[in-house]
């Protein structure tokens, strides 16, 4: 991987971090509010079903996390296990795509 590509990965992780910072603040606030009096499926789904606002929010959240987590794990793997190169990069890409698909499936589950 070229120095340019590595630099862009770093930038992608920081950019996704900035997006995540906003998403996580909203997520935490929602959670602290939602858990009062216990969680129920009806309560959660009444908030999310058919709401394009929440759908867009969670879709962005999932996309940002799917970028952010694999890049971080790539560094962790390199530094702690010493694994690097194409196989690790391919593995991280796979993890990113899996997170995106699984995440989107979860978002659709509470939206539709």
């Amino acid at each position: 991987m070229s120095a340019r590509a590595q630099t862009l990965l770093w930038l992608a992780q920081r950019a996704s971090a900035a997006v995540l910072a906003l998403c996580v603040i909203v997520h935490l606030a929602t959670m602290v509010y939602a858990v009062r009096g216990g969680l129920s499926a009806a309560e959660i789904l009444s908030r999310t079903r058919g709401s394009y606002g929440w759908f867009a929010f969670y879709a962005l959240f999932v996309a940002a996390v799917a970028v952010h987590a694999p890049i971080g794990l790539r560094s962790v793997i390199h530094e702690t296990l010493g694994w690097r190169g194409a196989p690790v990069n391919a593995g991280m890409l796979a993890i990113g795509m899996a997170l995106a698909l699984w995440g989107l499936r979860a978002v659709l589950a509470v939206f539709a």
């Binding site: 070229s2 120095a3 590595q6 630099t7 862009l8 770093w10 560094s75 390199h78």
Partner: protein, 237 residues
Amino acid sequence: MAMLKVAVWRGAEKGGFQTYEVPRLASQTVLDVVTHIQRAIDPSLAYRFACRVGVCGSCAMNVNGRARWTCRTHVEKVAADGQLEIAPLSNLPVIKDLVTNMEQFFDKWAKARGRFTGARTRDDDFARVMPDSPQRRHVDAGIECIGCGVCYSACDVVQWKPDYLGPAALNRAWTLHNDVRDTRRVERLVAVAGDAGCHACHTHMSCSERCPKQIAPTIGIAGLKRAAAAAALDGEL
């Protein structure tokens, strides 16, 4: 007379600590302690020093587990309980006792394009660099490096990724990046970008914490991260 208990690393990569009793003196530095052992107890002890006044950068060692310049580290400051452990710097091959091979450390300065390349000749007038310009201030903040290797020894990223350029080389690159007379800016950014360069830094700040000259290489490395990222977006990298 009060005595210090001093454990000193003997051997090379493989070796062990040997304990010596050294008289405790007023205003004694750690380098004084090592010198006493070599002159009065065991002349086979190998260590490195030159100036004894914090200029040359050759006497850095691990003192009680932390990298320090020994010539300006007072025993009083580090051996509250009368005990010292003195070892060679971390992350560098040990040649003998307290002497490390600093080849890779300086090779990385070269790899980070740590040399100046200007466009003017001796026939040109002096370049004018305003002392209060932002670039000159960045240079000032990092220029006093004495190349002692303390930051390199303290850095965990160096330990985890042996090809990482390390704080000193990157700090040098940052001062040159801000030298308005230098002509190899892009070439240098290419050399310092990516996984073995500035973007590997995790902001542990051990370098900034331990630098005896109170330089904060973390600042310069952050500056290089931004500059290289901007160059990557512009297609310069």
